[in-house]
Symmetry: D2
Amino acid sequence: MRVRYAETDQMGVVYHANYLVWFEVGRVELMRVCGLPYSRLEQEFSCMIAVAGVEVRYRLPARYDDEILVRTRLLAMRGPVLRIGYEVVRAGEDKLLCEGTTTHVVVGRDMAKRLLPEPYRVAFQTLLAADPVG
Amino acid sequence: MRVRYAETDQMGVVYHANYLVWFEVGRVELMRVCGLPYSRLEQEFSCMIAVAGVEVRYRLPARYDDEILVRTRLLAMRGPVLRIGYEVVRAGEDKLLCEGTTTHVVVGRDMAKRLLPEPYRVAFQTLLAADPVG
Amino acid sequence: MRVRYAETDQMGVVYHANYLVWFEVGRVELMRVCGLPYSRLEQEFSCMIAVAGVEVRYRLPARYDDEILVRTRLLAMRGPVLRIGYEVVRAGEDKLLCEGTTTHVVVGRDMAKRLLPEPYRVAFQTLLAADPVG
Amino acid sequence: MRVRYAETDQMGVVYHANYLVWFEVGRVELMRVCGLPYSRLEQEFSCMIAVAGVEVRYRLPARYDDEILVRTRLLAMRGPVLRIGYEVVRAGEDKLLCEGTTTHVVVGRDMAKRLLPEPYRVAFQTLLAADPVG
């Protein structure tokens, strides 16, 4: 993912809110890699993953045209609540630019809490088992 | 309307796509001033005003924290098609920063073309009569 | 501040990253109210307030065309580090839509940490004295 | 390029201003393919390509998670003025979602017009010769 000109601000670095957009890209790719795209969740299951909370630490600024990598990891799933972790680095480097976590609540079209549909829940449990946190 | 830091880019000026967002703010305020908010159009009439085309000329850059004014004007209404014009200036100045027009198609939830609901059409005809273009 | 169409997403609510932009608007207004606009800080003192961290809790969704109020409060100032708190509500209502804090580091053009210029530091200390946290 | 959730609006389609951001991505990739990245232009030659005008026709809406392709083409170079054309399609399809042109002025740090640096001008002339318009 390349940093877009639109994503910079007049400090010459990436505007801080854009990291949340990149987290989303990481999250969506994580689901796609599991064979379970987020778009299918909305279309087929009328189910959405709303954002309930966000925590970000900015370490080093990303700049225009940097090639950016978002390492995304499912941290926890408890009932309708998910926690996901992110690390943003420049491709080919190891220095952390930014790290964060997002907390999500799975909801239906009526915005009421519900569990993730079965195939998604199974895939997420497999992820958690393969990559135990802490 | 104040220019937000998020709206600047690393050239130190407002990123060009953001003027389209300001045009939208102008458009929505024009409708609100007529007593016919856009939100009511969507909620009550299941009717949306989709953007079909955009033309922008950038004259002078707007900068962070500038106080910005968008002069908005209905240019034409022909069946389901609307044309709206915009001039962006700094508050208290007359120099044009940016001007543009947008073309819109009125559509229903099914994305099929339709006429604007009666009260909106009447209000827009009054606007056009009061401010004849050209 | 009105919610812009550009700020919504296909869930029909405000996209979560946009709250960070509103926090910034709140922050900048807080400084302007003190008679010390942020733009002057960059231009006159070559001094920037970089974002080092962000925490947000989303309570209830904001929607298109809502009139939004951001209550902003300086929470702490320790050397070059500032902490600011935010509450987002709909105008005329008391229900919290979103709350958060941002942590900032004051830096020069070279991105090295530095203290806030004198007039800003004094104004912020006055704010803290007038509105003791906790 | 995948459509991001952040790029949709409550109509369930991509917000129209985001196509300008995609045009920029296409433009930057065109320069990178020529071996002459835009970032080098700013860093090495203190030269920027400002946007002077934009024209967009929206044909069909792009939606969340669509895989999007931007076909970018240099249309003209006359002194400091460039014109670039764009066609946005879904990957693997031929239907046009959106087309547009942007007009640019090459400027120095002082915002005065100047010619593109030699290597860029040569590369662009080669592009124009290889792909004559009209």
